[in-house]
């Protein structure tokens, strides 16, 4: 028997993230690099630790190798504790049958035994594709105060965008009377953040019922939450204020990285009381050379900058050669941008070499047809030949040697 944990967090990290294209070809979405040194999963994991949650189950399914390796024993997040800590929970065989996780609710259902070991009062369900800093302990306190069965975190979104989200319609006391999934005519602007606090014995009962329902797709949003609401359980919306961004698409991932460069932005990663932990590379400090021009940028350890960067996010060990220009772009660990190359509005993945005088992406104002414009993406371990041209919105597969446009 393990000592009781009041709260156990379950992090849904099995999604494929297909909208991130080549970035998630061999990588689960939560392991996608973000912000110069982080991976997306650092945010929910650090939030858990900073909120005092010491037991976290990470449910993996899609391309888990790198994610598993990254989480390891949880030491970088202080989650290598004696009883709790971080546990990677892949689907497994039992008896005669084995099941992939069919849906978000099924993933938790399959790990009821894991949760029961800690005998928790509350279970926090999180997803691995958002960038935000949030104190879950305040949300749990709200859940207790309202004597709720389920509390859903909610953020105000502009009315014009509300139809992209799951909208929570609430009464004056904050209780939810209706879920509106991507409504055409939204009644409120309270968008669900995909963060749930459940009273465990209630959730446990609904998970078992939902599993027995052959018509259910075993999804929280589609099945379990509506069932709970229809049965009259106490469900509340918890208002969150602050930075929150889904980074599930190339554009939103790019934007969210650029948000870090805004000095007046609301996402501050330097706050000592709420650090975002990550696995740190062992590298010397960065070197900025004599003729380099560096502005409005975020630069990680081990970088060597000889060229010009503006609105750039450079991950560890990136090399920017003399005369190279990187603007409004993200360059992931270990990549090189050689002399005279120009990278604009692009995401260049790990260990890629951008050859001399190559051009990647373009500024929107340079485009005749704005519809053809978009962030260019180069996968990991690519070689962009000297003088090659990668057009905006292009997506170069991992490991490609790209020569188009060379003279």
């Amino acid at each position: 028997m393990f000592p009781k944990q009041e709260v156990v967090a379950m992090l849904l990290a099995g999604g494929q993230g297909s909208r991130l294209g080549v970035l998630t070809k061999n990588l689960a979405k939560p392991a996608v690099p973000y912000g110069g040194k982080y991976r997306i999963i650092d945010f929910p994991l650090s939030n858990c630790v900073n909120s005092g949650i010491e037991t976290v189950g990470v449910l993996t399914q899609y391309q888990p190798l790198e994610l598993n390796e990254y989480i390891g024993n949880g030491q970088p997040w202080d989650l290598d504790s004696m009883y709790g800590g971080v546990h990677v929970l892949p689907p497994y065989q039992r008896g005669k049958k084995s099941d992939w996780y069919k849906g978000t609710a099924n993933a938790i259902y399959q790990n009821i035994n894991f949760i029961d070991r800690y005998n928790p009062d509350y279970v926090v369900v999180l997803s691995g594709d958002h960038i935000y800093k949030m104190d879950y302990s305040k949300m749990v306190a709200f859940h207790k105060e309202k004597q709720a069965d389920c509390t859903i975190a909610e953020i105000e979104v502009p009315l014009s965008e509300a139809s992209r989200f799951g909208i929570l319609n609430t009464r004056d006391d904050g209780s939810i009377y209706e879920f509106d999934e991507k409504p055409k005519k939204p009644k409120s602007t309270k968008a669900s953040m995909g963060i749930y606090v459940f009273t465990w014995n209630k959730l446990r009962k609904y998970l078992i019922e939902d599993e027995a329902d052959p018509d259910s797709s075993n999804d929280f949003g589609k099945n379990v939450l509506p069932k709970m609401l229809n049965a009259g359980e106490r469900m509340f919306a918890y208002e969150f204020q602050g930075y929150w961004k889904d980074v599930g698409t190339i554009d939103s991932l790019w934007e969210s990285n650029m948000d870090l460069l805004d000095p007046n932005g609301s996402l501050d990663l330097s706050e000592p009381s709420w650090k975002i932990y990550s696995r740190n590379p062992v590298m010397p400090p960065q070197y900025v050379a004599k003729d380099a021009v560096v502005q409005n940028s975020l630069v990680a350890e081990g970088c060597n900058v000889y060229g010009q960067i503006d609105f750039a996010v450079l991950f560890a060990g990136v090399y920017i050669a003399p005369g190279a220009v990187v603007k409004d772009s993200i360059i992931m660990p270990g990549s090189r941008v050689e002399e005279g190359a120009v990278v604009q509005y692009a995401i260049v993945s790990e260990n890629t070499v951008v050859g001399r005088d190559a051009v990647i992406g373009a500024r929107p104002e340079e485009m005749d047809n704005k519809d053809e414009w978009g962030v260019a993406v180069v996968g990991a371990n690519c070689t962009i030949a000297p003088g090659a041209v990668v057009p905006p919105k292009a997506m170069i597969e991992e490991g490609t040697t790209y020569e188009e446009g060379t003279k």
Binding site: G35, G36, K37, Q75, P76, L260, L261, P263, L269, S270, K275, I276, Y277, S278, N280, V282, M283, P284, P285, Q286, Y287, V288, A289, K290, D291, A292, V294, Q295, N296, S297, L298, V299, A300, E301, V313, L314
Partner: protein, 371 residues
Amino acid sequence: MRANNMLGVLFSNVHDEKIRELTEKRAMGSVPFGGRYRLIDFPLSNMVNSGINKVGVITKNNYQSLMDHLGSGKAWDLSRKREGLFILPPFGDASSIPNSRLEYLASIHRFLENSREEYVVLSDCDMIFNMDYSQVLAYHLEKEADITVVYHFGKIPAGSGDPTVYTIAPDGRVLDMLVSPNMEGDCNHGLSILVMKRELLMSMVGDCVSRNMFNFKRDFLQRNVKNYRIYGYEFEGTVLTMCSMNAYFEANMTLMLPKVRAELFNPDRPIYTKVRDDMPARYGLGAVVSNSIIADGCVVEGTVENCVLFRGVKVEKGAHLENCVVMQDAVIGANCRMNYVVVDKDVQIKEDRSLMGFQSYPVYISKGAVI
């Protein structure tokens, strides 16, 4: 393979008096260096990268900051069930606090006795280089030596504390050894690295103590040049010696040279240090940065030329820094002008201040000062 039957012993307080300003509140080993390191990171990482699993760190005084830095040894992969990191504070009561290197070695007799490794490597913390000690051990075995000392051929850095100079035969045998000679020009000077059998170290230390001899260089080494097979191993890489404030300043500045960085920060033998989980360095609008080493967590909005900025330093708008070494979490206010200044940790320089040193005499601002 990580086990090589060698024990590491590090002296963290040697030559504290050489850079008195920096060691007033800390041991030599915890003097900050190169943007994100402490001096002890170099010898300690060298040991770990050489396959050493057990390291004893001898401390003398002011070792709180050192212990804070080392913690459990996790960052060096030395927090282990079998062996790992051992901090060895002074042993005994006030009247018997050891005073010399030999007394320290005598005082850690129990630690040496309880270790299982056949060989031991001794190292100081005031010189930094990236060296593979397993090659020194291989040389030691090949020469069937009793003691192997490591030397560097070149000029003795000005201000070195009691440097040793070796006369070495073509086969590597040490024929003669001088302590603090009046030497101009190139010579074989010692790097205070020494490899020998653990048992032999213990018996030689016991022999010296029993004769009331407490000078390591004269009584332990020099006296025994003829009695034991002492060999010299030449290290040809970059050596930076912290033997004065000027030398410390210049050593930081040397990191701007790509060749020095490539050698010291060889990716096959990385230098480990305490993890701080800072965000990457952020450069603001109007930042002008040239020929500088900058660590994570810095926020640069002013002008920085030929500087080393440690983790978490803030340079506000309009500030102009040239030739400065600025340690952790210092804040340089708007429109400050600074040239040849060494700024210690947590210093706050308010707006519009002007501080100028000179190349031969960098100004030092002590830890936590508010100007």
